[in-house]
Amino acid sequence: MVKLNINGATQEIDDPEMPLLWAIREQAGLTGTKFGCGSGICGACTIHVDGDAVRSCITPASFAEGKDITTIEALSKNEDGHLLQQAWIDENVPQCGYCQSGQIMSAAAFLKNNPSPTDEEIRAGMNVLCRCGTYLRIHAAIARAAQPSDEPLTDDSKL
């Protein structure tokens, strides 16, 4: 038995080997986190464990015991998360929308570590697959949500 703290609520999981993805989706009933590949490649299942981006489809439940799990459903409780989601809407990012929870959770963790990224850093920093081709708009949304850098602005999307 593993006790998980998912978005502030306790969830008991009987199988410590069960990937966090299925604990979150099927036991906690939070379906915003998505199953894409089951191999930690596509990133649709990205969540936060103690604030770090984690691919939940290959992470056993036992890994998160005693840690704070945040999923897309709770991201907006945090001011930065809310602003990021608003940037996603403002840039008209989602098409089918299936990968977007993973994209947003990945972007939130990226911006936490690098609040004022350059274009090149945004481009290099996002590794969640999207088949609809929303990458340019994801980039623009992250740039919009990023804090202005102390250096002179060069990116049109921040002006």
């Binding site: 199988d15 069960m18 990937p19 299925w22 989706r25 099927e26 036991q27 009933g29 939070l30 379906t31 915003g32 986190t33 998505k34 199953f35 894409g36 590949c37 089951g38 191999s39 490649i41 596509c42 649709a44 999923t71 897309i72 459903e73 991201l75 907006s76 989601q85 996603w88 809407i89 008209n92 990012v93 989602p94 098409q95 089918c96 929308g97 299936y98 990968c99 977007q100 929870s101 947003i104 481009r123 290099a124 996002m126 590794n127 969640v128 697959l129 999207c130 088949r131 609809c132 081709g133 929303t134 990458y135 340019l136 708009r137 994801i138 980039h139």
Partner: protein
């Protein structure tokens, strides 16, 4: 649908079925359905019933825009709900079909959905005219209100709807002129954007009715195989496992279920084992304990041997689809000629959401929750498997996590309903693993093309012959003969050459092939636009100037090509760019699903031979643009999808089974590989045509034409992969 039928107005959502009456007929006096597509609430909110599924293409915003335009309501008054089954929702081909695909939605809905909005508005106007005893013609509408200026009266639609619902729906209500459009042509925000950023959007895989069981399957890795021996004892002892069942593969879901007569028995192979448990994790772990042996199927098929077979036929005479003049005589008499053979690989769809379907069979009725492309087809599949009438099937369609043509084939629905039949009374959610998804797709077929062109002594093209060899999903599923499956967009390209012959040869593919974003455009765009580039090079002409020479009778193509040339500041020759590398541009122009797309790609190649696409410009003529924001998204997505395939995608088949497993051995375009994209639409007042697919066909050719200009080497087989540059000198020349 008559007036006065009440509906429950709900945003598209997942809920338990009501078997007492279909959901749209449940009695709630408050909501009034004014016609098949429009219902109004007393609070003024408008429910638009749409037969079309939302798989990313934005139709759950664009369809309501058509209604809202004519009804004169704002978009924030709109709810979208899935239309029930019924003939009034079959808007394609003169009322024959309601499917979502072939880039048809806007083309087919543009008039009927506006008529629905206009008819509803007319009923509200008539209600106000009666209520206030004023002439109909003196009334105006705006933002969900009827106003009579002369008497200074105004009423919200919600106040009039009860009267309106008692009126007979009018016919032949005039529609707005394009110049009066208030919403159409504006970048209205997507109605689904908020829920798709908050994790609350419901996809098929998220469906969770009470008492749900979850299944996963292991299908015969060899296509068409059956189960010879199954040992399920160990799996049945695993935690949470309820049952282990053999079910049909469902490969011919269109041919044998959706379009076959109800009394015709499907020709099924039983090569699928399903483990049903209390959770996906338990089903998946138990599946590892199942011992299964398969037999039969297409064991002899490999993609490489098939390529060789196609190549032996490259010089054969084909069956003519379209011809003009005498191409053979013209080739024989040409001052110069060229020929080339092209080939494309099998491709998977790789929707981010793996195939899934939830089905409940209870008390002789069935509810199916799934992502699909035609609710009528889903109902027919369930009715046939369960031997019940169509009106005993309820289809609920959550969002699709990507479609790209994959979900027109509903093998996963056949499987889920077959499982539900074995375990009646409990909803069963079938979820495929990613490995099953890639190994049991309906692939873009491997096709070979053979071209010949002849020129006179002045360098004018006099002869053009194009032969396609292969097979298509339309043929496999009984929807069409060999010709349309192979040809389609090959026969409607615009180049005016005196002697032309467009031909095909059928070579059967024994593994499932299907509809992959743009379908035949996906191969024809690459074939034709690469070879036309070869023709330009053969007569030392600029690729754009050469195309323009052949487009004298095609002004819309000329306009799109000129626009993209201007957008990109076309360079016909390589140049040294700011990054120190040589860059080059390539162009392609293709009409797909009645929409013209002209593209220019700018590329470079690194020292390892890896191409980078820096930017793509795209000019599009799709007639009237309903929503330029969503339209641009579709062009960006179409380019990304085609570019991904052209650069790196290839499904490999050996001994009748696909050897790719997951994204690690079937890589797709990443954020790092995404080019900058600039899109413009040609101003037009022509009726709108499709946008979901037409941006995909040109990009492989634009890419490969640019690589030719850069390296001098012509790519005639996809994917491009890493270039094996013939000489190191060439490679050095690309990078300073």
């Amino acid at each position: 649908m008559g007036a006065g039928v009440a509906v429950g107005a709900m945003v598209l959502t997942v809920s338990l079925p009501s078997f007492s009456a279909p959901p749209h007929l449940t009695t709630r006096k408050s909501t009034q359905q004014l016609n098949a597509f429009v219902a109004l609430e007393p609070n003024g909110s408008v429910t638009v019933l749409t037969p079309f599924v939302e798989m990313g293409q934005g139709v759950h915003t664009a369809i309501p825009m058509l209604v809202a335009e004519e009804l004169d309501v704002s978009m924030d008054q709109i709810n979208v709900r899935e239309a029930p089954l019924g003939p009034e929702y079959r808007l394609h081909f003169g009322g024959k079909s309601r499917y979502t695909g072939s880039s048809l939605t806007i083309k087919s809905a543009f008039i009927p959905l506006r008529q629905a909005g206009a008819a509803a508005r007319a009923m509200l106007l008539q209600s106000a005219a009666q209520e206030w005893n004023v002439p109909f013609d003196e009334l105006t509408t705006a933002a969900g209100h009827v106003t009579h200026n002369a008497s200074n009266r105004t009423a919200a639609y919600g106040e009039l709807v009860a009267i309106a619902a008692r009126l007979t729906p009018p016919k032949d209500v005039p529609l707005k002129n394009q110049t009066d459009f208030r919403l159409i042509g504006t970048p209205v925000d997507r109605l689904d954007a908020v829920e798709k950023t908050q994790g609350t959007a419901q996809f098929g895989i998220d469906v969770s009715p009470p008492d749900l069981l979850v299944a996963t399957v292991k299908q015969s890795p060899v296509f068409g195989g059956s189960i010879r021996r199954l040992d399920k004892e160990a799996a049945l002892k695993m935690p949470g496992v309820v049952s282990v069942e053999i079910v049909p593969n469902g490969t011919y879901s269109i041919r044998d279920y959706a379009i076959a007569p109800p009394n015709q028995t499907p020709k099924e192979s039983f090569g699928t084992v399903a483990v049903i448990a209390d959770s996906f994790w338990h089903a998946k772990t138990a599946m590892e304990k199942v011992t299964v042996e398969y037999e039969g199927g297409s064991e002899g098929f490999s993609d490489q041997a098939f390529s060789k077979k196609l190549r032996t036929r490259a010089q054969d005479k084909g069956v003519i689809s379209k011809s003009k003049g005498d191409v053979r005589a013209a080739l024989a008499g040409a001052a110069s000629s060229i020929n080339a053979v092209y080939e494309v690989p099998f491709l998977a769809h790789m929707t981010m959401e793996p195939m899934n379907c939830t089905a409940l069979f209870k008390d002789g009725q069935c509810t199916v929750w799934t992502g699909h492309q035609d609710a009528d087809w889903i109902a027919k599949i369930a009715a046939k498997i369960l031997d019940i009438q169509l009106d005993k099937v309820n289809v609920i369609t959550p969002f699709l996590g990507g479609g790209f043509g994959r979900r027109a084939n509903n093998d996963y629905v056949v499987q889920a309903v077959s499982i539900a039949k074995k375990l009646p009374g409990q909803p069963i959610k079938l979820i495929w693993s990613r490995e099953e998804d890639i190994q049991h797709d309906f692939y873009r077929p491997k096709i070979l093309a053979s071209f010949q062109a002849g020129f006179d002594s002045e360098g004018n093209p006099t002869a053009y012959r194009h032969l396609n060899i292969g097979d298509g999903g339309q043929r496999q599923q009984g929807l069409a003969s060999h010709a349309p499956a192979l040809m389609d967009s090959a026969v409607n390209q615009p180049y005016d050459i005196p002697n032309k012959s467009i031909e095909y040869l059928f070579e059967e593919i024994p593994i499932p092939v299907g509809f992959w974003r743009s379908v035949s455009g996906a191969h024809n765009g690459f074939f034709i636009e690469s070879f036309v580039d070869e023709m330009a090079d053969a007569v030392s002409d600029d690729p754009i100037a050469f195309r323009l020479r052949l487009l004298g009778r095609a002004p819309r193509f000329v306009a799109a090509l000129n626009l993209v040339s201007e957008m990109a500041s076309w360079h016909g020759k390589p140049w040294k760019a700011d990054d120190g590398r040589m860059h080059a541009m390539g162009v392609a122009l293709h009409q797909d699903h009645d929409t013209i797309a002209a593209q220019i790609a700018e590329v470079s190649v690194d020292q390892q031979g890896q191409p980078t696409v820096h930017k793509v410009w795209c000019a599009v003529d799709c007639g009237i643009v309903i929503n330029p924001s969503i339209a641009t998204m579709q062009i960006e997505g179409g380019i990304a999808f085609g570019l991904s395939a052209a650069l790196m995608e290839k499904v490999e088949v050996l001994d009748g089974r696909v050897t790719n497993n997951n994204f690690y051995d079937y890589p797709v375009l990443t954020a790092q590989q995404m080019p900058d994209i600039e899109v413009r639409f040609v101003d037009s007042d022509a009726p709108p045509t499709g946008l979901g697919e037409p941006a995909t066909p040109p990009i492989p050719a634009a890419l490969c034409n640019a690589l030719f200009t850069l390296t001098g080497e012509r790519i005639r087989s996809l994917p491009v992969g890493r270039l094996q540059l013939q000489s190191l000198n060439t490679s050095d020349a690309l990078i300073s």
